[in-house]
Symmetry: C2
Subunit: 311 residues, 2 copies
């Protein structure tokens, strides 16, 4: 089995849908052939390529930085929304709503240059550990998805990450962990200001949001960054629904996949109640829209990289 | 000579600077080695890769569309800035200033979907001819630059276009003419709105500007789209100066090039007086910043693809 594609995927409808789709679009001269330049695949990150529970990694990253800021300005400990972050009050963070919570997280790193931020992000990822799984965040990626990315690349696909998370944080690990270079990462971003005085030529991060890359903004950012409609997209929440629908609405063969976290034993089970990134409409209308639901429990033999090797 | 790199470039300081730079960054184990993933090169488009006189192609594209709009709404013929466009009044268009003039050009295609616009742009490029050179716009690319793009790619560089022009118009020809796929084109853009009702899932172009990709915005968009600082950049106006300086300010070997249009006989001679995209500060401070000026007249054996073959 080890030389079969997608060894960590159980046989079943999800794996078959992927293998059938890739076979169809890569047969030269076949009716569904898609040239390599148009084999664009877009993946959400949090909850699709790695674990997003109990919070997206973005927040754990912000916690550490906020501690530093609070040492300089202790009044932050009494002011919301900072108080919730400093006390790791997950319920309070959830209650902020996704965009507001992310804006706080983004704002924690304003005033520094883009290069300084990238260094901080890389250093944090090397040392920080997931609070529940007890491993580095980079070990919280899903093994079946790493296999899927490799399989698609081997079949001429170009992979883009399209995430609501901060674009630079994802870029700090996407190349090493997913094989996706920075220029193929799309995410939420703050505005940058060029500063070119006195021999410097740097970009400074402002606290102003440039783009919150979620829901209807995802297809718009795909058009801005990629300029082509994907033929395959993979998400896990209502935040990905517009991207999945945009993908399916193009001509020719299309595949849209939706990961359903229904595996409390090996990972987490959640959908409607996860306020930071709920899965409601995409699940209810998956059949109507032609979206393939991938139940983690039945579809994946192994979830994490250090799980038992596929038999 | 034909199997030498850059056959349409004359021997001299510009060609030597390019060959020396590429040699240094590609010698594995050498002190200046740069891994392929970081060999990012950014090129301006109008006036750097193809002709921008008497106006950038964007405007000729807008003229044809405005004629259609004026047939439906004849009052446009009496209202500025449309009047200037409809009368091809180049002096009046220049007097608008670059961003204002471009905003008119961008606004001519609002309300249609991104896919419809891409089709219109491709069709226009297949039929439109340069008013002075009398050839299709796609024949107004510079042969020495096409050679340079190929040479850089052969040496492991990834090429991005970073243009003040409309991103979709460039994408409509960049792959066929430059070998640069849409996802490696950065340009000015309008906002897009996702429309997903009634089985549709499309992006509609709004008349609101998303980004005018000029001057200090170019480095910010490079960070947004690429996430890495280029090691080589090529421009031709003050609109490129921030990009050139941003490129030079990184660590290690860097090369910034500035095309100077000083060749009235074979192309055009202009710099300070071209109001839509003047070249003043970048020329005056090139030596101070370490920018290599490429005089077209002396540096290029041939300018256009149908010029005499390199001897």
């Amino acid at each position: 089995m080890a030389d079969q594609p997608l060894p960590s995927w159980n046989e079943g409808p999800a794996r078959s849908a992927i293998l059938d789709f890739v076979a169809r679009v890569t047969v030269e001269g076949g009716p569904d052939y898609v040239p390599p330049s148009e084999r664009i695949a877009t993946f959400d990150n949090d909850g699709t390529l790695w674990c997003e529970q109990p919070l997206q990694s973005q927040f754990f990253f912000a916690f550490d930085r906020l501690e530093e800021l609070a040492r300089k300005d202790p009044t932050l400990r009494e002011r919301q929304p900072y108080k919730a972050f400093l006390e790791r009050d997950i319920a309070a963070i959830h209650s902020l709503g996704k965009q507001a919570a992310f804006e706080v997280a983004f704002a924690t790193h304003s005033g520094m240059t883009a290069d300084e931020f990238a260094t901080i992000a890389r250093n944090w990822l090397m040392t920080a550990r997931h609070p529940k799984l007890g491993v580095p965040f980079t070990q919280c990626v899903y093994r079946p998805q790493i296999e899927l990315l490799s399989y698609l690349r081997a079949n001429g696909f170009k992979i883009f990450i399209v995430s609501g998370g901060g674009i630079e944080l994802i870029r700090a690990f996407a190349e090493d962990n997913y094989g996706v270079p920075p220029e193929q990462v799309i995410g939420s971003s703050v505005r940058l200001r060029f500063e070119g005085s006195g021999g410097r030529a740097d970009l400074v991060r402002l606290s102003e949001l440039n783009s919150f890359d979620d829901r209807e903004v995802k297809p718009a950012n795909i058009a801005l960054h990629i300029g082509r409609r994907p033929i395959l997209a993979f998400g896990n929440s209502d935040g990905d629904l517009a991207m999945l629908r945009y993908t399916l609405a193009g001509n020719g063969q299309r595949l849209a996949l939706l990961l359903h976290h229904d595996d409390e034993e090996r990972e987490f089970a959640y959908d409607r109640e996860f306020r930071l990134s709920p899965l409601v409409e995409a699940l209810d209308k998956a059949a109507e829209y032609g979206i393939t639901v991938v139940g983690m429990k039945r579809s994946w033999k192994t979830v994490f990289p250090d799980g038992p090797p596929p038999s």
